[in-house]
Symmetry: D4
């Protein structure tokens, strides 16, 4: 018995590719998956691959991967030609939220979508967000990334007509530790129509954005 | 000082209209809001208006409203001409989830979007879902409504490329009481790209769907 | 043994008067307290006194009280001459939060402080708050009252230099039910210097405001 | 006083042997237990024995044990002759769940039961499970191992008549961290008749399977 | 669109019949389901049907049902001939746990299995359990029903070799309110091999027992 | 099968009598228990018997009981001769905590122990507690009853050498709702040697006190 | 300003000595406290002093202390003459619970009380407890130490008349992780009169035992 | 795109300066922020900067900072002339709470406010607090810092008329671990008018104190 069966048909079925969530896998398991994908000539995105575990992969695996430590993502087989640009904007509440925001950007890039990234536009200094509103509104999908109390989600969703995907992060301490406060703030927002993903799940937000773009027939052209 | 200030500009700003969440408002407050909207000739959607509270509204208010007890929604000013049909499908895990599913349908109808509703396609009898897959895939947005363990969300998202919005419901008992189990299942789904809203929030799912449809330029024509 | 011992020295010690929290007391206990205070000629504030329990009080007790059903407060012995005006503003996120906001206002009035009340300036329609900023800034203390995701607290605290007291309310459903989400949002706010009180605790917010006003020597003159 | 008293009569009483849960025991305590069992000529299963703690055991203890690092199990005294084969199948949602699945397999083997193991048949790619259904149905007991949202439990229980034991794992992050989401999904499943054990408890699932097999008189022959 | 689609094939697939969970369904929905089943000549089990909701069903529905208020179960179409007797024993910690224990017994009877019921054998008076041990051990499957701290589960599982299914109940107050304490005690038991179902889920325990009995080939003859 | 088996030997075994926890029992079950005890000539204490349920008992049962509505306790067979006086003092934080305090007093009286009760000595007005310190110190066991933040437990335990049993109550709202805050305060007290019982468990505190008094040989004479 | 003020009067006030909880103190702070106590000639008990932190203390401090790594306790100034023996028995559910049990024993010894310790008498093998019952009953106070599901507390309290202090431990995983399950089991026990302390708080249990022994006048002689 | 946008206007808007929360930022990000602030000649406060992360900053950054390891704070640009003295007192429950208390003191000093610090005046030895009451009362604002059960907050607020800001700390174990117990005790205090900040948030308490001092017109002169 092999330990994994990759779902190469996924892109055909759901429009987004199989990816490998690494944090509960051993280095040996990840090595085997990379070897397998390489043999098949398949591109692959790996997420939540910490620097320590990356360093324990085999040399060929490490060399085959385009690894980015802050986002803990690795890409096997390189990026495709961009299919879309200027359709998704990633708005990031604080500097600390950037790794999650960039995980979303890398995931989008893996599928050929080039996103705009706006960093450090948190609510404590509202002018930073207001300055960027016209830029934000020019995109079809907004991925909002914020931790702590997550007030950014409501403020943003109350001001733009775009599809808004909220990514709560685990940035914070005390009652905010772990990200539940930001998550609940996104879900309970008084500004309606927010779509929410799991804590720190930049990857999932990117896939939700791709489903949304795919939902627009014109987008596929 | 009046007790409320309605945000009539919201549709211009975000693409979806102001609505009135009734469960923590008194009958007197709701009466005043209805009178005010009527004077301005504004249409209005009211949500989470329980039958007992509805019965305590003034006679003119009750007569002005199109009230639906199971969904606890009321519409002032009637429905608009449909702007879109066949773009949103609401998939409902169990008979008990129908009030939430229909709250979504009513909210969409209030904005001119006519949704398809598929009831009782839960995962315990998987054939019920499989039979409908082609029908579901023909829509741009899927609103999936389920309580208990919320397995429907993952199964569905693994099979269709549409934008999928998960609405966990408070249907269930024991560990499922209150809807946290279904909510967490949606957020932690192994099928990527799910967008999640608050527990029992059919209204919010509808608004998220409208933002998504609006994100597709062709959709607005 | 009597069942209660009122702490009439409290105002001397802490600057705010003894009050009676009614929700876990029987009607008989409350009757006895009112009789006792009346005999001593003491004024008294009663909080969380529901309409049903009020109706079960003795006739003399009911007649002696100035009762306000929405806020569930009752005042024995009338209001004092105002000592201060225009120093405290109560900013209220939604119409549903008004009972808590008014509990704060009534508590302040009981101590001679006349507060300004601004209703329905929630974050979903940010312009409602922005319009009032100059008015808000002219006060020394802001009591902000909001439920659901409590984004109002951060937005407000990021824009004004006043002392800001956040009162999270139990308004909301799903993950917001009970008020924990708004409470945690206030505590985890990215805008620093917020002071927070218990959920639905308009009474406590008023006392905190009085302590703050008392902390300013000029305020006592 | 000795620090432990092993319950050698357990197999006679309950049909499954005493085992040693190691994660809260010191290396010195484990060494003493192994010495004691060796002196008595007793076989022994040790669970949750991390690699670091294993390395701190005495040399004779380490040499006496058949240790398996990924499952953190160690066996003293070797495996018995198989008593049964093809009666239990372990179905594993993802590659990350394999250590728990294999803890179950090792525990069964310690009692003479040889289990079938099917890896990586998660719900995100449903075809992987459907392909194996006939194979699964040919067993008496199914041990289903899954983390994240645990949708596998419901899908499986809705499709097979076997006894199904769900082992939720702590694989996942955000709301799934620690395994509560998968646990609650198993308990609240819309597919009835699931039997659930503690998070990551492959050992307990194996013992439950043995009790079930023992419940069938024919099985004991 | 009809509001429900019953899964009549379930017994063929999983060995246990479709049942109707009533607590989140309206009386109108339940009436329609009963009419539909009656027309098809199908037997049906209804669970969690409270007395108040039962009284709101149509007269023909009420007359067609064998309703038992304490267990909140109703049976349409009568009981089948018994297929098995003396194979399942239901052991009940306290008098307060009896409704859940009897829900299990009624569910078993609906499928033709006649269970033994032992009431009030809680751990506070251990002799009551010890007296019954031989009787309990003579069954293949034990369903243990207990609330509060759920110590019964561990004591019982440590003493008998049968398959043991723990049903935690919501009996208790303070930290035991809602049944989480008993549930966690069952899951964390130091006596291995316990299989656990959701809080108050006598129905699910019965189905698990039926799956277990079905797992024994001799049992099917 | 009868539905209950009372543990009449308990007093011999543990020193405190069997009691009947009524809140999850039906009126019919309680009636049967009273009839049974009456036939045997046994005294019996019933706890958590709400006024509504008491009113649904049979007339003979109601007449046989000494019922006290605020504490929800009923005594069958009257009180015994006092065995001890002045050994236990019950200190009560607020008027709202009195029903729990009196449940403890009634339970003690049922076993022949006459307790002192000091009401409304909460920490907000510390002088009320300080005044009573000498009186409190003259007892062997202190039962401290408090809700909200439970600061009374620490203050008291830091000032007296007696055995101190903390009974947290569910008095409070917001974060204090349900009594967890007071419970955790008692358990985490910086004043060492506090013994804690379940929320609202005046009955259990009384039994703990009786065990403690029994632990002193002189007390048994 | 010095960083600490030791409460040397505590023994006079409460009967048990001041102790130093070390886990949140820096090595420098602990060093200073030891120096201070040494200068005053005071004995001192230090708890939760991990081996790593102990190794960072100054050489004189380390030499002055009688340190015991498994219990993380240190004693400055040696043990006193025993004042009592055979009055307290510590009953320990599993080998893993021994460090907490021995923290209690060391704390008692520091105050001159010599306790009996019975290890590994868990409920999974009930005979181990039953064998020791007469021995246990001969003591005035039982300190019961158990993790996981904490069934030991109920079984024990149902069988002995002694004062019983339950110390839940953090031994366990999954739902038992952190000790909440054992804590809640102790608080919700169906066997009445249990007194409970915080998770892993062997120190507090010893102090509670000392208060209880002090409550018996004969005990002080 | 740069990764941060500092909000230099904040002091003008809210009266307190921008600060940098470091615990979720990388050393590279912090280096860049320090370089940027140095170039602009701006003073800056950094919080939650652990010793390990500080050691990974660039040499110029480390040399430019006044770093204090126990409080994990660093100050760039030195302290200003004191603007106020003797207006704020920081009262600290235990030695373990000192790092949080000193974070508050350092934050105040950064803004020119010199605070009084009173250490180790916990409730277990109440005399330590009582001795200091007159000193405490002479200040306008009290910052109370306590962990475990947080009884200090109530005792203090019941005795002084000052503005009281409660800072719960994460000091404690078992149910107190993480600081929720102290936080809830502060929020649910029976002594009214407490203002609460997040767990371990000495920084936020200082900013709240500055807002309060600013609220007094005389304070601004």
């Amino acid at each position: 018995m092999t330990e994994f069966r990759l779902d190469w048909q996924r892109a055909g079925r759901t429009g987004t590719s199989e990816a490998v969530l690494c944090d509960a896998k051993s280095a040996a398991q990840i090595d085997a998956i990379i070897t397998h994908a390489t043999e098949l000539g398949q591109r692959l995105l790996l997420t939540r691959l910490g620097a320590r575990k990356f360093s324990r992969l085999s040399v060929p695996a490490r060399e085959a991967l385009d690894y980015d430590a802050p986002t803990r993502t690795a890409i096997l087989g390189g990026l495709p030609e961009p299919r879309g640009t200027g359709r998704v904007v990633i708005v990031c509440g604080g500097t600390s939220d950037l790794p999650v925001a960039r995980e979303a950007a890398r995931t989008l890039a893996f599928e050929g979508e080039v996103a705009t990234l706006l960093a450090d536009v948190g609510v404590a200094g509202l002018w930073r967000l207001i300055e960027r509103l016209d830029d934000i509104r020019s995109h079809r999908v907004v991925i909002a990334v914020a931790g702590m109390e997550g007030a950014l989600f409501s403020v943003l969703a109350g001001l733009v007509p775009c599809a808004v995907i909220a990514v709560p992060t685990s940035v914070g301490y005390g009652v905010a530790e772990g990200g539940r406060t930001a998550l609940h703030a996104a879900l309970a927002s008084c500004a309606s129509g927010l779509a929410v993903v799991n804590i720190d799940n930049g990857f999932g937000a990117a896939h939700a954005a791709l489903r949304i773009l795919g939902a627009a027939p014109s987008a596929a052209t």
